[in-house]
C-alpha cells in the first residue's frame, strides 16, 4: 500500500511524504504538533473529540486519530514524525506505534528487528510482490 502517485509509487508498503501528502495532511500534522505542549496534551486526553474539533480536519482524519489507525493516518497525509506525538501522548514507544502499520504484532515486529530487521529482498518494487 502506498498513497503516492509519482516515480516512487512503485515501492511497496511505503508512502513518501511529498507535496500531495503535505497538502492533505497540513491541519492533521499541525494538530499533532500542538501535542508538544503539556497543557494541550491534557485537554486532548480529557476530551479527544472536542479537542480535535479545534482543527479543520476531515471526518476521516478525526476518526483515524480516535482509532489510532496509523495506516489510515499516513494515507490521509499524516507524517510519522508528527503522528508519533499522538502515540507518545499515549505512552507508546515509537516501535510500538510503527509496528501497528505492519502485518506483525508489536512482539513479532520487535523480534524481526532483533533478527536484523526486514530484508529489502522482495521489498523494493511492487512488481516483486505480485
Amino acid at each position: 500500500m502506498n498513497s503516492n502517485n509519482n516515480n516512487y509509487s512503485d515501492i511497496p508498503g511505503t508512502t513518501v511524504f511529498d507535496g500531495n501528502m503535505a497538502r492533505k495532511g497540513f491541519h492533521l500534522n499541525q494538530f499533532c504538533m500542538s501535542l508538544m505542549n503539556a497543557a494541550n496534551r491534557e485537554s486532548f486526553k480529557q476530551n479527544e473529540s472536542a479537542y480535535l474539533d479545534r482543527y479543520p480536519l476531515t471526518d476521516a482524519q478525526k476518526q483515524a486519530v480516535l482509532a489510532r489507525d496509523f495506516t489510515q493516518l499516513i494515507a490521509l497525509g499524516g507524517n510519522i514524525y508528527y503522528l508519533v506525538k499522538i502515540s507518545s501522548c499515549d505512552g507508546l514507544s515509537v516501535a510500538a506505534a510503527v509496528s501497528t502499520m505492519t502485518d506483525l504484532s508489536t512482539e513479532e515486529y520487535l523480534d524481526m528487528m532483533r533478527n536484523g530487521g526486514r530484508s529489502p529482498e522482495g521489498n523494493r518494487y511492487l512488481k516483486e510482490q505480485q
Binding site: Y8, G13, T14, V16, M33, F70, N79, M113, G116, P120
Partner: protein
C-alpha cells in the same frame, strides 16, 4: 586561521539518549551499542574541537509544517534541548558560536547557498544524541556547536550533490575565519530505517556497509544516489545519509578512516558511526 581536520558521522537515535538519561547505558544489554563509542570518547578528548558544526535534521520539533527550510544555520548564542513530548533531555544547554556562524552564513550565501538564518531555536535528539554519544555524560558540553539543520522530513530533501557542495563551501568559509579554531563537522542521521507503512522495519545491512566503505574515496558516487533510491534501498528515513555527505564534503579529498562502528538494530534503526581524519601537513 580556523581549520577543519576531522569529521565524524553517526546515527542520532532518540532511544540512545533516553537510555543514557535514565542511567542504563552501562547495562550489559546495551554494551554492543555503546562500546562502539569507547574509542570516540577517548579520541574526542585528544582532538579537543573548539566548535562542532553539527549537521542534523529537525524532527517536527522547531520547524512545523508552516516553514520548512532546506538548510537552516543556527546563529544564536545558545540552544536549549527541546521538549519532544516528555520533557527536555537533562543535558547541558548547547552553546553556540555566533561569530563563526554569522561568518559562515555570509560566506555561504555569497557562495550561492540559500541558507535560512536561525536566531532562536530548540534542538532535538537529532543534535543532542550525537553530543551525548560522543562526549558522554558531562556537566557542560566541552565545545561550542553550530547547528545546521537539513530538511529530510518533507520530500524532497536536498540532493547528495548539493550536500557535498555545501560541505565544500563550509570548508572554504571556515578557512577564511581569522580566529585560530579547531572546527569539526559532524554528519548525523541514518542509517537504514523506515518508520511507516507495511514495509516498516526495513534494514539493509549490505547497503549501509557499502555506504561506509565508499565514503572515504568514492563519495562522488554516493552523492549521485537519488532520494528515491535511498528510500527504495534503505527505507523512507534512509535519506538522512545525505547529511553525512556534508561532513565528507568539508574534508580534504584524502582522508583516513580511524574508527567505525555498526550495529543492528537500535529500536527501528541501523546504527552507524565513522570517524575520518585528514593528514595534517606540518
Amino acid at each position: 586561521m580556523a581549520k577543519i581536520q576531522a569529521g565524524l558521522g553517526t546515527s542520532h537515535i532518540p532511544l540512545l539518549g533516553r537510555i543514557m538519561d535514565i542511567g542504563d547505558s552501562d547495562k550489559a544489554e546495551w554494551a554492543p551499542v555503546f562500546s562502539g563509542f569507547d574509542f570516540t570518547r577517548q579520541w574526542i578528548k585528544e582532538q579537543k574541537p573548539d566548535v562542532v558544526i553539527l549537521v542534523y535534521n529537525d524532527h517536527a520539533t522547531t520547524f512545523d509544517m508552516k516553514f520548512i527550510p532546506t538548510f537552516a544555520i543556527g546563529c544564536a548564542e545558545a540552544f536549549q534541548p527541546a521538549d519532544e513530548g516528555y520533557g527536555a533531555r537533562p543535558v547541558p544547554t548547547v552553546k553556540g558560536a555566533p561569530e563563526l556562524a554569522w561568518h559562515l552564513t555570509e560566506s555561504l550565501i555569497l557562495q550561492g547557498f540559500d541558507m535560512t538564518i536561525v536566531n532562536e531555536m530548540d534542538v532535538d535528539h537529532g543534535l543532542t544524541v550525537p553530543l551525548s554519544m560522543v562526549f558522554g555524560e558531562v556537566e557542560e558540553w566541552p565545545c561550542r556547536v553550530i547547528p545546521l539543520a537539513v530538511n529530510t522530513v518533507v520530500y524532497p530533501a536536498p540532493t547528495g550533490e548539493r550536500c557535498l557542495a555545501l560541505g565544500k563551501a563550509l570548508r572554504e568559509a571556515v578557512e577564511q575565519f581569522p580566529e585560530d579554531l579547531n572546527v569539526q563537522v559532524w554528519g548525523t542521521g541514518g542509517m537504514s530505517h523506515q518508520l511507516l507503512g507495511e514495509r516498516a522495519g526495513l534494514i539493509n545491512q549490505p547497503w549501509d556497509t557499502e555506504f561506509m566503505d565508499s565514503l572515504a574515496d568514492d563519495y562522488q558516487r554516493l552523492a549521485g544516489i537519488s532520494q528515491v533510491e535511498y528510500i527504495r534501498e534503505s527505507g523512507t528515513e534512509g535519506c538522512e545519509m545525505v547529511m553525512w555527505l556534508i561532513m565528507r564534503g568539508a574534508l580534504k579529498a584524502k582522508v583516513k578512516e580511524v574508527h567505525r562502528h555498526y550495529h543492528v538494530p537500535v529500536s527501528n534503526t541501523a546504527l552507524g558511526h565513522i570517524i575520518f581524519e585528514e593528514e595534517v601537513s606540518q
